[in-house]
């Protein structure tokens, strides 16, 4: 039997077993990573013993990173929804004139300016700025680095999430709004039952992206004395003189959180995708099947 024929046979077995395929992929990746580590250890660049001894040290920093990210992301959502609303419907309200326009204009201006400011400056600069201010306002408080860090991340993600929500709300078509109004829904009901659920479904993946970016940005907090993962790597590297091991270990922790989360949300999104809503139609060959030609 030729190679092509046997490959086809293997594919036939695996075709409808995505779980088996994923397991094989993960196992191969882990094996490759193990091989890489083993060779690095072989040439004395890293010490596997050090890594094994200090792995548990990363647990608390990992929790710190996750907490900072989740809290700022959640608070960010609460603020970003009204900001996205103002961004998407502000222009129309202002065009209407009258008192509504007078109230909307400054609000729209402020929100836009805020988003521009956040997106136009480096996250690191924002974090330093908040750290400086909070250090002066609350000198000597031991919780200030963490709280200030969370505040800085919140302010940062707020700017980005507001734009994600704006895009989501704007992509809900006017025909949907008309349909809802025509059955007698009030503006608030139209928003709660039509615009929000449809908009949110369309932005699940952009929001996931923002979460992942934010999680990685939380590494910057180490610089302002928050004991998160990146700080832990620096600590292990400097105080125990094993920087390469430390950064490899921390990278592994980031990957161990980011990859499964991304996969899980992607899977959830495919499972809950509504036919006809959003850009991609569900593929006929079953959930998550890739079109041929794009197969990895």
């Amino acid at each position: 039997m030729g190679v092509r024929a046997s490959a086809r046979k293997v594919w036939k077995v695996l075709e409808n077993r995505p779980l088996v395929r994923s397991t094989i992929a993960i196992a191969s990746l882990l094996a490759l990573a193990g091989l890489l580590l083993a060779s690095l250890a072989e040439v004395k660049l890293i010490s596997l013993g050090f890594m094994a001894d200090n792995a548990s040290f990363l647990l608390v920093p990992a929790i710190t990173s996750l907490t900072a990210t989740m809290v700022s992301f959640a608070v960010g959502i609460v603020g970003a929804i009204p900001m996205g609303l103002i961004r998407s419907f502000g222009p129309r309200l202002m065009k209407g004139g009258g008192r509504t326009a007078l109230l909307t204009a400054p609000l729209y201006g402020c929100v836009t300016a805020y988003i521009e400011a956040i997106r136009g400056t480096p996250a690191l600069v924002q974090i330093f700025l908040v750290a400086q201010v909070s250090g002066i306002l609350f000198p000597g408080n031991p919780n200030i680095p963490f709280l200030g860090g969370v505040l800085a991340l919140t302010l940062n993600t707020l700017g980005y999430q507001a734009e994600v929500f704006r895009a989501g709300f704007q992509s809900v078509s006017q025909t949907q709004i008309d349909g809802a109004k025509a059955i007698g829904m009030r503006p608030r009901q139209v928003f709660a039952h039509i615009t929000l659920p449809q908009g949110t479904r369309l932005i699940t993946l952009p929001l996931l992206n923002e979460w992942l970016s934010l999680f990685k940005a939380s590494a910057l907090l180490g610089i302002v004395a928050v004991s998160e993962l990146n700080w832990a790597a620096g600590y292990l590297g400097n105080n125990r003189s094993h920087p390469i091991e430390a950064y490899i270990m921390v990278s592994a922790v980031y990957l161990a959180i980011i990859i499964p989360l991304g996969k899980a949300v992607g899977y959830w999104e495919r499972r809950h995708r509504t036919p006809g809503l959003g850009t991609a139609e569900p593929t006929p060959a079953g959930r998550g099947a890739r079109p041929r030609g794009l197969t990895l």
Binding site: T175, D178, G179, A182, I183, P275
Partner: protein, 241 residues
């Protein structure tokens, strides 16, 4: 039941409705015909206040409803609407599309709402499609769900805005059948349409609009067989070939 009194509407510089008046009687099917851009859809949208008239009055059972003191949502519960592009909620199933108005607007319990919704879907012949999403239905089926959604709220009248214009020819019949049944049951309807067969056979009265005014109105026979105005003659001549 619905009276339109000298309604004007401008969109910017464009004078879309130039003083339109009409009356819709209880239980009648009023058909509005006319060339594109004549203001038919805008007139219809004024009647449930999706568009607010710049001048003139809309009266429902004698009550002036384009009044700041009257909530437009209340008016829209009295007067249902069916759109050219169906406007079903894409994130909800057929059943949920009908249910949502009953639970959120009429504030019925979900069991009661579902009972009514299933009955309405049955009425438009789609009981078996209750769990399908709009994207999984044909255009004709979507429009029938939309009719069910409007009827479920038990409106006094239903406005149809070119309900078959977006449909493939093979689906037009099923929608017109549902509408004909409704008219025969005595529902008050205002129908903007290009389906002259429907206007002739089902319409109690036909109103011809052009250029933002009502040019002529009368029974289907009067409009289609003995039109008085030149513009009506030209239009009817073109349409009926």
């Amino acid at each position: 039941m619905i009276s339109v009194r000298n309604v004007h509407k401008w969109f910017g510089e464009l004078h879309v409705l130039k003083g339109v008046s009409l009356d819709v009687k209880k239980g009648e099917a009023l058909v509005i015909i006319g060339p594109s851009g004549s203001g038919k859809s805008t007139l219809l949208r004024c009647m449930n206040l999706l568009v607010s008239p710049d001048e003139g009055d809309i009266l429902i059972d004698g009550v002036r409803v384009n009044d700041p003191k009257i909530r437009p949502e209340w008016v829209r519960q009295q007067v249902g609407m069916v759109f050219q592009s169906f406007n079903l909620f894409t994130h909800l199933t057929a059943l949920q599309n009908v249910v949502i108005g009953l639970t959120k607007v009429k504030r019925l319990s979900s069991t009661e709402a579902e009972r009514i919704a299933r009955f309405e879907l049955e009425r438009v012949g789609l009981a078996d499609k209750a769990d399908a999403y709009p994207a999984q239905l044909s255009g004709g089926q979507q429009q029938r769900v939309a009719i069910g959604r409007a009827l479920a709220l038990n409106p006094k009248a239903v406005l149809f805005d070119e309900p078959t214009s977006a449909l493939d020819p093979e689906y037009i019949r099923e929608v017109l059948d549902v509408m004909t049944k409704l008219a025969n049951e005595g529902m008050t309807m205002v129908v903007v349409t290009h389906e002259m067969g429907f206007a002739q056979n089902v319409g109690d009265r036909v109103l011809f609009m052009a250029d933002g005014i009502v040019v002529e109105e009368g029974t289907p026979e009067e409009i289609f067989e003995r039109p008085q105005q030149d513009r009506t003659k030209t239009f009817v001549g073109t349409i009926l070939g």
